[in-house]
Symmetry: C2
Subunit: 189 residues, 2 copies
């Protein structure tokens, strides 16, 4: 207890390290994909490798921390689409937005797909939230005659992930064309 300033100094230092690590990780993932070497990230952040593990117990934790803000923005967009757009616009807008998000880093679509089935993953809660929003947006589209009855939530999740994969491995344009074609094919008309 004495002064407390020692504690504050420590925490500020730790916080600074965490931020440097996140910045380095973002750049590494952007350049090399989600399986970029962790020791390179530590080196770029100018901290020891043990410090990285101290802040982020595994690669997933690092990815989850980096996606935190993006996910919050994405979920806010989903809520807005549900109330402020037509059912059709909400559906196409949501699928595109999630596909764009899951293409933030090469390999992210694979990580997200793997987290869906893995309760222990630090991304699992985000996947559940994402699926819930997809379900609600899909339900509205179905109710208003914009989506075929047989189409499941997981069909749409698969479409979003596949579109993200195409964005990375082919091009954003191809991805958008596939989404447009698939949604046209899933129309009840």
């Amino acid at each position: 207890m004495t002064t407390g300033s020692g504690h504050r100094a420590q925490r500020a230092d730790a916080r600074r390290n965490a931020e440097r690590l996140l910045a380095a990780a973002d750049e590494a993932f952007q350049q090399l994909g989600t399986d970029a070497p962790l020791d390179k990230i530590a080196r770029d952040a100018e901290v020891a490798i043990g410090t990285l593990y101290g802040h982020f117990p595994d690669r997933q934790a690092l990815i989850a921390a980096l996606l935190r803000d993006r996910h919050d923005a994405l979920f806010a967009l989903g809520a807005r689409l549900l109330t402020e757009s037509t059912a059709a616009d909400a559906l196409t807008g949501w699928i595109s937005a999630v596909a764009r998000h899951a293409a933030t880093y090469r390999g992210l679509a694979d990580v997200i797909a793997a987290s869906r089935g893995d309760e222990a993953s630090e991304l699992h809660a985000d996947c559940v939230e994402l699926e819930t929003l997809t379900r609600r947006i899909a339900a509205r589209a179905r109710r208003e005659g914009e989506l075929r009855r047989g189409t499941s939530t997981e069909d749409l999740v698969a479409l979003m992930n596949a579109a993200a994969w195409i964005r990375v491995h082919h091009s954003p344009r191809r991805a958008e064309r596939l989404v447009a074609a698939a949604l046209a094919g899933l129309h009840p008309a």
Copy 2:
């Protein structure tokens, strides 16, 4: 020259090693995906790691050798579809067959997509052949009013790869439903 039997014995041995390596690689790729450890493959084949590199200079060479037979069968199917099926059946049959093929190993869709743009890849020639068949099957479908005019060969290649990705990361059923939806959406009607 002497007897020649020495040479034959050597070659038989080398051939046997190559076959053991291919069998081990097939099993490893099937279980662990295309980035399975090469030293595990050598160990399972009961040869030294140097022997693996002697036969297959890199991972791509190993994958290419394993796909050789499958690719030949796939190309034969493509040729058959062009002559022995309706334009519509040829298109759906081809897309499904390639998607199923590219999902043989986890990670194979990524390898194939990467080989498309890489002339140095040992799989590049196969990718070109695959694209040529896709182009011809698509051209016929377009001519016979089964495929929208704006649809490019690469759109279809992207669809096949994405379907393969979904087969692996979601399920074959989702993949088939996406292909059906996308092709419906790409119909001119």
